[in-house]
Amino acid sequence: MKKIATILLFFFTGTITVLAQNLSIDNVQKIVLRNTDAIKEGTEVKGYYFFYVSDKIDKHTNEYTLQITDNNLKKLKDIKFEDSKKVSILESSFNGTDLIFLFYNDDENTFEYQVYGADGTKKYSYTRSLSKKDERFLKMTYQTMGGDEENQFKGLYPVQGAGFISNTPSREDGDFTFEIDYFSSTNNKQWSYIPTEGGKRFSGDYLGSYNGIALFEVLRYSSRTDGNPDSYLIGLSMTDGKKIFEKPTDKAKNKFYPTNLFTLNDGRAVLFGEYFESDANVMKAKSLGFCFIGIDGKGDFISEKYDSWENDMAKYLDVSSKGRIDGLGYLFMQSSVQAADGSIYIIGEGFKKVASGLGIAANVLSGGAGSGLSNSKIKVTNLAIIKFDKEFNVKAATLYEKNSNNIELPEGFGWYGVIALGKVVKYNFGGFDYSYTQINKDNSSFTVCYKDYVKEKDYKGSTFNAITYNGDKFTKDVINTKSEASSSTVLPSKQGSVLMLEYFKKKKILEAHIEKLN
């Protein structure tokens, strides 16, 4: 109540001070930094949202505030609503005209997708009920459900000016699958698609959309223990979710596993991924290299370009065996950008499977009963940026060294193949250091950001790193992020800047300010 008196004194006698681009909120009793995120159009940050409990209404109900600011942290709007105290925000997305927020209600076991216009008016709300099985399965993915953990999973994607696609794991009776939902932002319509036929387990990755088609890479397992799934592409109509095509990915010259969809400057749709021997198990086999596969509206492959480790990548990287790069291990594709001159840059982060002393010791001590730990662990290594020209030929590759980090694997994960392991490291353990990539409006410059931890003579602590390409060269910048804050995070900002968020628990102050990268 002393605080109220101070506020009142201010009103009676105070003055106003104009501040630069920073925000300071005091009397913040509790903050979960993941409840703040950037609102992006593509990779451009257009604003931020801050989600917090602004009042307790009763034993079961909170008043929540979703505060939206512009990209200079100037408050635009407070959206207030009352709901169960067990509501948390999981994700947001912006499609150029509308915003969507995904809330999880632990009381009612629902996902609620709320769509807001750019004027802050609520347009539509879509609710998805979750079964108990769904919920347990989803908690493995959205670690933030009901907790304070950092969330790595991304399941919400914008469809420019039209709506949003949600891709989340799902349980259908005993089957593990995934659910695609499309939520329109122009009218109150949605559709869903859940693959269940022909397999007992499915996993799907949204690749992107082109010509009114939403494209997914799907793995179909014939049984729960099937270790060699079928890989295929499905194209769904954005209008009604009907399947337009289903194409196995072994129908190109080589079997491939796509991870990205580009729409090139000339409008062509091209899939990017790794390619394999024709009889390879994409989940376990080592790849032969990268591929670029052109695709049309019927899902037919209209062009193919392959860059092998052995012949093409080896000119720029020390490739010891299939896909294993010296200084990196295997490469997990984090993101990709196409520059103004048509060059494509793939940003990858390396990881290796190594023996785990802890796991081995624990298993020995358990006398064969199982310790819960695998005998192997993952070592996350360096960052790599690989450049391809307009014809998809490898032109350059650069390794960026950083300190490695180890991830102990639970029992059973040690047998996972390269691609599957990479996804586990990213989405289940949040083990990669990569943060995000931003490209400017005219594609003349992009920045790749990642975290690291250093132990040097002058500084020991966490760092935030940025590699910037400005049209003719790469430069690197490092921000030391150790501070007196109880917790802190770095979020994207306008290109060339970052948003530093710090929470001081004792003083109950949340501070945010924008800082420029060099």
Partner: protein, 458 residues
Amino acid sequence: MHLNNYLLSLSLLFLCFHCISQPGNQYVFQKDDSLLKAKYADAVFAKKEVVITSLGKENFIEYKKAYDESYKNIGDFLTSSRAVTSPKELYYLQSLVQLIVKANPELQQLDTRVVFSRDWWPNAYSMGDGTIAVNAGLLIYLDNEAELVYILCHELSHFYLDHTGKAIKKYVETVSDPDFQKELKRLSKQQYKVNERLKVLTKTMVFDNRRHSRSNEAEADIQGYKFMKRTGFDCSSILSALSVLDHIDDTSLYKPVAVENIFNFSDYPFKNRWIEKESAIFSSMTDNSDLTKAEKDSLKSHPDCSKRIVFLKDSIAGIKMPGKKFLVDENLFRQLKKDFYIEMSEECFHEERLSRYLYYNLQMLQAGENLSVAIPSIARCFNLMYKKQKEHAVGLSLDAEGKDFPADYNELLRMLNRIRLEEIAAINTRFCKKYEAEMAGNKVFENEMKKANAIINN
């Protein structure tokens, strides 16, 4: 005779040439009297002790807290670089105050400390103990002494009518009120809907406070007019002063700064992407405050200037004797308006408000004014921006674009928030090279140019 005239002419010519070759009349920054600042601070402290000693037992703690905070702010202001105690400027201001006091005997017993401040925002304020400040950011917009005198009369009225003392009293009585305390205690134990209740509680108090504030402003307007009409100054300047305040946000003393011209060099052309506007995605998102228009109006601390003008117009029209716009020193007034532009911008540098500092100096550069200050300042600003950006500490020194800023300032801010480290260095070296000849002999400039070149050569 002809030869003497010839030699005399030559000498004059030589002297003139010598004058022209000097690096311009260097501006000499105001030098504050630090002893006077200390004396003022002591006086304020002594006054606080008197005030606190004279407090009764009732609500003593709350009063003491309020006065401690208030007097601390006053002391901090007076001892800071913001308060101007440079003799010439102070003497001028005191001359105006003495004129007002001489014409209004009821003011003679008041213990006042009236100073200019180097703050950039257009404001003047009475701090409650007799300290009155007129910001440089307001002075630069005034047209004559009469307008300044009205501002002084208005602020003296606040002190004369003890508005601050009454506000503190109101605050203390409010927070000490048994019903209020009871409500606070109840809220501190309440688990639910605390913020909702607090909002209602504070809303009532804020509206009440703002109503009093508007009422105080209206009272100070009337009393200020009464003081002014006895001074011999032209009272129609009251209306023009209020009109200045009414339009101040839309007024600029200089043409818009064209950064694309200033920072365009033949070997380092200006990049349009530095100032390209971003798409305003959320431009239609408005604050969804649940206040009505009437309520928003009720939150204003001052009545609208247009209403204030209307209120005083008839009284002023009734004055038969026209007054003067200047009674003390017109030349000095006009000189101070120019000087304070520089002082105000230098204070921005002192406080590391670099975007604003740069803006003011670019305005002067473009207008061809005070070049001996503006050009070195721009170089200095870029050097400091480089240093701070390298340390990832420049963000807090740069304003963010805002809809209340002029378009040219927003353009400059876009540029400053986008240019990269190497671009800062590249721009500055070329800027320095451009003005090297013109600034020959200017030690500040030469020092900054040396730093800029050292950066680029590393």
